[in-house]
Symmetry: D2
Subunit: 336 residues, 4 copies
């Protein structure tokens, strides 16, 4: 079968095609025919060889994808042939809290990912895709969606009427916006582009802040909420931004610090004490969170935002497009 | 000023009018000009002298109302003259969990209620009414709304995609339906009337069960959810119904047993063990829960369902109408 | 190897010895040389063929045991040869909440248990035994200990200073007493025997109630706590007892309804509403809870109470002794 | 009556005596004859005029004290004449979460404190003192004790067997050690003094680290816990120390960032993401937390550590002694 691999070079050029023997069934695993996969910012970091200490050489990239179960191994009962499925990014994080060791089965990083015709996955890592989603839409869910869900509903304990702040319009932020609206929250979105803010508004955003025109966006958040601030913040930018986020936080706010971010500038965290803010580290989430998110996506018939679809053979072009940062929503690969 | 009082007789005939000196400002209290009030089932029980050991004689009835602040006492900072407000039913339950002693300041039961031209209320029990609500709509919120909110969001820890079951179409159930939909849940409603089910559908109900036609409604709940059951149940009927509710419950479901209900028939509770269900007693809620609910009502622009409005002088007619149980939504009194 | 099996008869006579091929290593599993096993009340129910719909014929009994890892299969990393281990009763309940399907891997019921010379166990179900425990002590932990832990610390969210009520001096109650004392709680114990109460006192019990002499023990609980009641109750008796337990409960108490109990008499549950009590079903717990309990047992150097040790060949005598209900603490089988 | 006040100068010299009219009863308040009071580090900061933007001039200092109720105002039911009481530091934080506005009734800062013969306190802020505590011991509890309790049991959700890390041997740390041991935790203490570590050991500390001899104390924490780290950390030093604390944290650890600390050096917080650590700001706690802590202190008969007792007239000497930082435990003032 045809796969993409990450080669030894630094950058997008390191992507190369290869031919591999298709995976065979094994106990507890399912074989999936991949229909679509999707890109995340960390895929760029992996080709750049700048994702922590990861050594992705020879690895099939992409943590996100969707496909059809075409074979199951011994003992598999939760999925059957013909099911449309996605996999949780950390294949062994099924339920309960984040524990040591789960990094070792991270699709597209420490185990082969979705840029392939077939993939073998532990059945326990799989969830069924709601019927209203296309393959392309389903492929976008696993990392950015679950990251936003975890921050909002597990760390954040969101309830209708809460005020949620998302920074920018990347994948996690847009899922954050959609999932927060699905749960009845009021959502504030920041962006440097009025055009992107208009798109966020069309998805339900209540308060829009152009941080280029309003660099003190944290004050604008307070102003727009009558001095109250944001109950939940998806801090996807980094520790420099965190200083402002904590100023924009409500008393007892929950702020999710979301993985792979810029930590070059240490934050001022005193407002965290004064307001009893909770700051929690987020590394995507568990298969149970994926299930819960899919139930919400199904109940509210949420449609993930797909910016652009590339052909399987054009994977490097998709990476280049992601790097240009002009997208709004997810960049998807169609496998056939 | 003119007030209604509960007299010594048993039943609706015990309601009588009286003239009282209007309340004066006192430290920590606000004086409210009442614009509308609303009825709950327990108001019937109080006139029937069948609400636990309550002795409501000479009491101004009604726990629910809305009005305008016309004076404030010393030390009041959370409301000001002109504010449109509602009060939490237990005037001293501000925040935190239910503790002993709070029953002693229960509007319309252990302290005078809203069937009056003016009311004096501890300012700490007051919340401001969202701008999109009329006086009649605002008057309906305090008991039925907060009861539903507490069950869904405090006991129930609801998140988008959860399945919520409400029994019948009384005040708590309809608020339960609306607040659950606002939070992105899938809602199941039971009723003996197809007409009422149609109204519930118009409010967003996803699954409708006529329990007259389908007496084994608990099996229908399981069937309609693919065997999964309901994550959160508002058990407003009584302990007889609880046996079926527990059969309809999902694993780890949260079931709120809601006050003043029929306890004549002890339930079979073994399914609670087998599914690790949580059964929690609910007695309305705190002022903080009222605030949170109002934030949700504001964010989602929820309109409470008003069935019928009566004039202040026609209060006994409103009670009689409530007793007939033909309503869908709340019965409201207009005070001017 | 030599094993005990449950035969077709009804009662303890159904226990029979058999010879089986020792288990071989398989992926994800460990082979354990069993050093000790322990009995629980449900083992009697299983031989009586009265444990729900269980069909235990040909099953190796006993959910509790301890032993040494003598071989590991492919992919096992959490235990190694030589480790002293116990297994979680539900072999697939690793973490997170109770979900459907976990009953299907219940040691001694739906899969073979510990009354054998060797056992093969999914490595994920195993935890390491603290060094201060003998094999006999370690063997007692898995079901009764985790049941008490789950009720106290997961459902009960116990903190130092809470008041805990345990009913009688069975295995769960004694673990409840020891683990509650380890966490700084004040513990109330009921029993029909002053001798057993004296033993409970020696383990740290603060308040002792002989329910034969004081049949209204629920009033005694209130009296002994200045009218406050118990914050956490381990309801191990059944639904008849539950009526009294709910009267003995504090406001917002957490009451664990613990599996396999007498449900012949439906309870009066109205006090649950009036006090906002939480009643939760408990079916032992997860491997994570077992780990957490073992950390507590290690930190506080808790010694489980072993009442009597029988030889492997005398298993039926151990059952008969358990049935006599004269024990205090656990009944253990020594395997060599 | 005689009181101490904070005058306009900078430093301990600003303390001056004054004579004031004793407080009179008012609705909802109790008059307390003060028997003992106690110092906290922030009392030094207040005289230094370096406690945030506080303007403590003319204020009676000290947030901590204990005394006897000698009169009660109208409507007071929770305490009666003769009761031995302490007050919660934030007089209006009764229950529920930290909300805006509570800073405005902070004993010894924004309202008069305990360095007086009599004090008038909102009855709702008062808790009764366990019988085994002397006046001197009771006086130490309100700020340092509740701060430690909140971090351990509210933010920290501590259970027996958890590993708790306290930094140094100041008031919060020593209460943290004692309350953590009461709840069955394993406790790690750091100090620059072997003598103080020996005292901590006598109070139950399990692991002792001299950070002068072992500057990489965070590595020592990991080593001493087999690589696991600390479940709960009381970060009382400041943001510079936080970098090390986060390295010493276990996966999903809860780290309390405790008020008034050194924020001169921004922390490196990336380990918070990688381990999904929860960092929460702590500003003492509510009266409900004070009640809960007192129940634990009563159940476990904990004795707060009193380092030295000064006479009321020697208050400035007590401040000077506190500044010398040679104490272990609390510095107390005896009022008669």
């Amino acid at each position: 079968m045809k796969v993409w691999e990450i080669g030894p070079q630094t950058g997008i050029d390191s992507l190369r095609t290869a031919t591999r023997t298709p995976p065979e069934t094994s106990p507890g695993h399912a074989i999936i025919k991949v229909h679509a996969s999707a890109l995340n910012h960390r895929d760029l970091m992996l080709t750049a060889k700048r994702y922590g200490g990861s050594k992705p050489e020879n690895r099939v990239p992409l943590s996100d994808g969707a496909g059809e179960v075409i074979a199951i191994g011994e003992g598999v009962t939760n999925v059957k042939i013909g099911d449309r499925v996605v996999a949780n990014m950390f294949a062994n994080w099924i339920d309960g809290p984040w524990v040591p060791g789960l990094f070792s089965a991270d699709y597209g990083n420490t185990r082969d990912g979705w840029a392939a015709e077939r993939i073998s996955a532990p059945a326990a890592s799989l969830s069924k895709v709601p019927g209203h989603l296309s393959w392309e839409e389903a492929a976008t869910l696993a990392s950015a969606g679950v990251t936003a869900w975890n921050t909002l509903n597990v760390l954040g304990r969101m309830k209708a009427g809460d005020t949620v702040l998302v920074l920018g319009t990347g994948g996690v932020s847009i899922f954050g916006l959609q999932l927060a609206k699905a749960g009845g929250a009021k959502v504030i979105v920041t962006s440097s582009s009025d055009e992107k803010l208009a798109k966020a508004k069309a998805l339900g955003a209540d308060i829009l802040i152009n941080y280029k025109k309003t660099p003190d966006w944290e004050k604008e958040v307070l102003k727009a909420t009558g001095g109250y601030g944001a109950d939940i913040i998806l801090e996807t930018v980094g520790t420099a931004s965190l200083t402002k986020s904590l100023q924009a936080a409500a008393f007892c706010a929950r702020v999710g610090l979301i993985g792979g971010l810029d930590v070059s500038q240490p934050p001022q965290i005193f407002p965290l004490v004064a307001k009893n803010v909770i700051l929690g580290g987020i590394t995507v989430g568990s298969r149970e969170m994926l299930d819960d998110m899919l139930a919400a996506i199904d109940a509210e018939k949420i449609k993930p935002v797909v910016d652009k679809v590339f052909a399987f053979d054009d994977l490097p072009k998709a990476y280049t497009y992601l790097q240009s940062a002009s997208h709004f929503g997810k960049i998807v690969i169609r496998h056939n």
